[in-house]
Symmetry: C2
Subunit: 316 residues, 2 copies
């Protein structure tokens, strides 16, 4: 049993199209003369430069942890007030020297001010807002949603907006960011409007979609999620670290536009409003790589990670 | 913003019942005089001793990693040949001194013999089988399935058998173990029958259900998954470690019945064929804890983790 084994699998396994079981049973066989549908790798190889976009330097954060860099794309369309506050906090260096306080397995890694509750020791919020409205959902109307036809279970409609996984309820005409792996949210207490962006978390386990519409989601990790997901789990209830020295230091957080262009991570993100993205979803639903003996004919919203690649030029 | 914030959330958040959106819209309101439905904690507090079962010492493995103990429950009902081979390999000390070779973020941690492909250095398999048939699915008929009514997307029917998450296709009359977080499978190469249980993996990210029916699933991690999920990610393609010294040592693997009773982990597992389990699912679909402002009315197969608790007496 060579160690390549599962390896081989994974090479293929970045992913898995929206046919129901019934539809699959009805789907006609491809004529022998038709060209084979592409694999996920072939879809990406065939992509054009226009299928990719640069990072938005004014809405992307570079968080330098002791474990390495984490790149976070903010979602102003979904949480404008929280995003504006996080940008203010970042520009005022609120997060520098704070720490990852909590890592709960199969759930979240959370960072903020360990002394936030200690009146004298708490870090001042400067010009940032102390109190914000909850931003749990937004109007569905006008949202440029690339829909996913596959059944979701958690919501009647799902898809992507600007690369973010989104769920929606057409009856109520509301849409919201879905708690997929790597999504970033703003911790809160019992009152719905008790988050202000000073305490943030990233999802590091099976996507806890039960949190959707219960908390303000502010963005997603574009790269470096492993710098959070591989941290030691905390021994206390809910993954809080027992001892202050177990906390994991945040060296700095910067908005990319604060950095000289040559210091900005040079990364491009696949656009989700493209034929390439739709082809990638189909290649993930019905895997064509030789390892696969069964095609699931389905892809989950949170299984369909949006690809990134090194950029040909620096982020401007 | 107190650090309890997300914390509070998580206390509640072990979970999220099978009503569709349409059904929810139709569901009548609870009369004001009816007692409030229980929370997840209240369901577990009200459980009886008979709702819990002991570990099966002859089908549970204790893997001692340098990072700590990992307890794995095998699934002989679903993969009898692989499970028998893994038990033989374990009893012959095949795994002792081997290593975790690969940790790929949001995917799998994989362990085995780093020299498996080197003819002279490969560890001998002793009395274990070199070649086994693929065990990707089993007959649905006769399977004691506790069904989950909630829509899944990946399969027309899902539920639990012996505490294992299961998916099924009534049309084909087949059932299989689902690739949820913490599930353990047997790595293979391209031929479907190229796994023999010498190389194993555990799911450490958003559940890769596209693997279902493509590989033999042999069990699940009952406790200690964090000893695998928090390991450093490998730098090579697909998460293989670059350098041999980065590999994470397996000190020993034992079948529980090889250990004196006092050395066996004393743990009980909630039975999934009970009214308590069904009540827990409902409490997770519609969270009653005060933190929640939105009830999703849905629970995912892979979000509904089966609880364990310290046992009142040692595993016999």
């Amino acid at each position: 049993m060579p160690p390549i084994t599962l390896a081989l699998l994974a090479a293929l396994c970045l992913a898995a199209a929206p046919l129901s079981y019934a539809a699959k049973a009805r789907a006609p066989a491809r004529p022998a003369s038709a060209p084979a549908p592409p694999t996920t790798a072939e879809v990406l190889q065939a992509s054009s430069a226009g299928d990719w976009r640069a990072l938005d330097a004014s809405h992307t954060l570079l968080m330098e942890l002791a474990s390495g860099p984490v790149l976070i794309e903010l979602a102003p369309r979904f949480a404008p007030r929280h995003v504006a506050n996080i940008l203010t906090l970042t520009r005022e260096r609120y997060f520098d020297g704070l720490a990852v306080l909590r890592v709960q397995d199969n759930y979240v890694a959370q960072w903020g001010d360990p002394d936030a509750e200690a009146a004298e020791k708490a870090r001042p919020l400067g010009k940032a807002e102390r109190k914000l409205p909850a931003e749990f959902d937004v109007p569905l109307r006008g949202l440029p949603l690339t829909p996913l036809a596959d059944a979701d279970g958690w919501a009647p409609v799902t898809g992507w907006v600007d690369g973010f996984p989104v769920a929606a309820d057409p009856r109520r005409q509301r849409a919201w960011l879905a708690h997929c792996y790597g999504m970033v949210g703003a911790g809160r207490d019992n009152p719905a409007d008790s988050s202000n962006g000073t305490e943030l978390y990233a999802v590091i386990g099976h996507s806890p979609r039960g949190l959707d519409r219960n908390i303000t989601v502010v963005g997603r990790v574009l790269s470096g999620i492993d710098k959070l997901s591989a941290l030691p789990r905390g021994g206390n209830n809910m993954g809080f670290y027992d001892q202050p020295e177990q906390r994991h230091a945040i060296r700095s957080v910067r908005v990319l536009d604060e950095l000289p262009p040559e210091q900005r991570p040079a990364l491009e993100v696949l656009r989700t409003d493209t034929a390439t993205w739709r082809a990638l979803l189909e290649a993930r639903r019905n895997r064509r790589e030789p390892w696969f003996v069964h095609r699931s004919g389905h892809i989950g919203l949170c299984n369909a990670t949006v690809p990134t690649r090194p950029a040909s030029k620096p982020t401007s």
